[in-house]
Symmetry: C2
């Protein structure tokens, strides 16, 4: 039950066997935690003791500057997992906060190692999961560096649409967007006030409707154009590829680290 979002996600990359799925389910069932909105799941500077799998709800990864400025690195959606290498760190380099009430499964390092050594398919799938996270981070770098405020917002709205659609969280062209404008501001690197104006501009252009937490896209193609958006960086259509007899996919990771010293 709990592991469904992750299994669904991993299956996007590699065809898993029933055994694989069982392994994932066990790992995700072991320790489950609920965290309320505005609370941190994991905090910058702390020692990472496990990998967090977001089972349900919205989260956000962020880094803070000493003077209080804050940058959202990415929004975390159901099925999202920390990058595996994070376990190597002595101190986490960013925080993960809950936006809505969320459910997270904690996957300990040794447990993760088990998965990847037991199944090369899982190892590959997890590598894919990491890869997608990094591709996303690169695209955000571009978004922040090159796009105007309007383009950034349009781009973000498109990204969230595609990511949510991939996990069945859209209704037609609509989805629930629990992030506040202040959070959108921290994600796009523009001020909260300007986020507000930018959203109004998108409304005026009849590209979207946003009332309360309800986002509706009216013209996806136009919105993508406005945001210079191209979904390929999300790698949502990998599905089949890895299924066929891929020759020498070496085991892959199993990046656990010493357990508590």
């Amino acid at each position: 039950m709990n592991a469904q979002p992750l299994i669904r996600r991993l299956s996007r990359y590699v065809a898993l066997t029933p055994d694989d799925e069982r392994l994932v389910e066990e790992a995700a069932r072991e320790r489950v935690r609920r965290v309320g909105p505005r609370e941190d799941v994991m905090r910058e500077g702390e020692r990472p003791r496990c990998l967090y799998l977001l089972v349900d709800g919205w989260g956000m990864r962020y880094k803070s500057l000493e003077d209080g400025r804050r940058q959202v690195l990415t929004f975390a959606l159901p099925g999202d997992l920390c990058e595996q290498t994070a376990l190597l760190l002595e101190h986490a380099d960013h925080s993960l906060a809950a936006i809505t009430p969320i459910t997270v499964a904690e996957i300990a390092g040794p447990r993760l190692a088990e998965l990847t050594t037991a199944s090369p398919r899982l190892a590959t799938a997890l590598a894919w999961s990491d890869l997608c996270g990094h591709a996303l981070q690169r695209e955000w770098t571009v978004n922040l560096g090159q796009r105007t405020a309007l383009e950034r917002m349009a781009h973000l709205i498109c990204e969230l649409y595609y990511r949510l659609r991939a996990i069945g969280h859209t209704h037609g062209l609509a989805y629930e967007l629990p992030a506040t404008q202040a959070m959108l501001a921290d994600a796009t690197g523009i001020s909260a006030v300007h986020v507000n104006r930018t959203l109004q501009e998108l409304r005026a252009a009849e590209l979207i409707t946003l009332r309360g937490r309800h986002m509706t896209i009216h013209d996806l193609e136009a919105l993508e154009t406005a945001g210079l958006f191209n979904a390929s960086y999300l790698h949502l259509d990998q599905s089949a590829r890895s299924t066929s007899g891929q020759a020498d996919v070496t085991p892959i990771p199993a990046r656990s680290v010493a357990t508590e010293p």
Copy 2:
């Protein structure tokens, strides 16, 4: 010889045995390429057929927008390696260009797999290398999203200083900076003209001198403060940590992919 920068880099994370070093050397010697300034080593959209190891010179990873805008994702320095998972991709999601004349070693997927299966130390070291790359990308996200033009430049200058110092490419507080102001602009997300003004501001504040390609930092501490810079994200001081008997560092990766289909 060729592999020195990478060996040096990997040794920062994990103590390697002579055997490990030999393996790395062999892998890096196999195919070596020289690329001239302004040429691409690898281009967005192409199928990645190997991992590139920058042996000598400066490069930059970048993504382009359809309308010609360009964002530098990071500067590549000697010893830098592509992330291992990049081999999974059908199409590279960014390009790598030479800034100076450079030497790159091409490491094929199977070769990489060999390294990681043969030596758990190498596997861990390579995982660390990936991790550092991602941590750097996250920090750039913050840089672009939250810092002012002056802060971004200061931050970038500090970052380059520390990275170059780690590979012995600094002379006291000075280093050669082959990137043009236009490249710095694409890296910091500000216009080339404003980069120029910003550099002058840093000069006026007596924080740096930049004549031709020669960068000198006059007051590193003040520069770090100006850029809200904190070197910890670079993970330059991992050295010792992994040396001691780390219990259960599971093998780790070996992320190769099907060789040419």
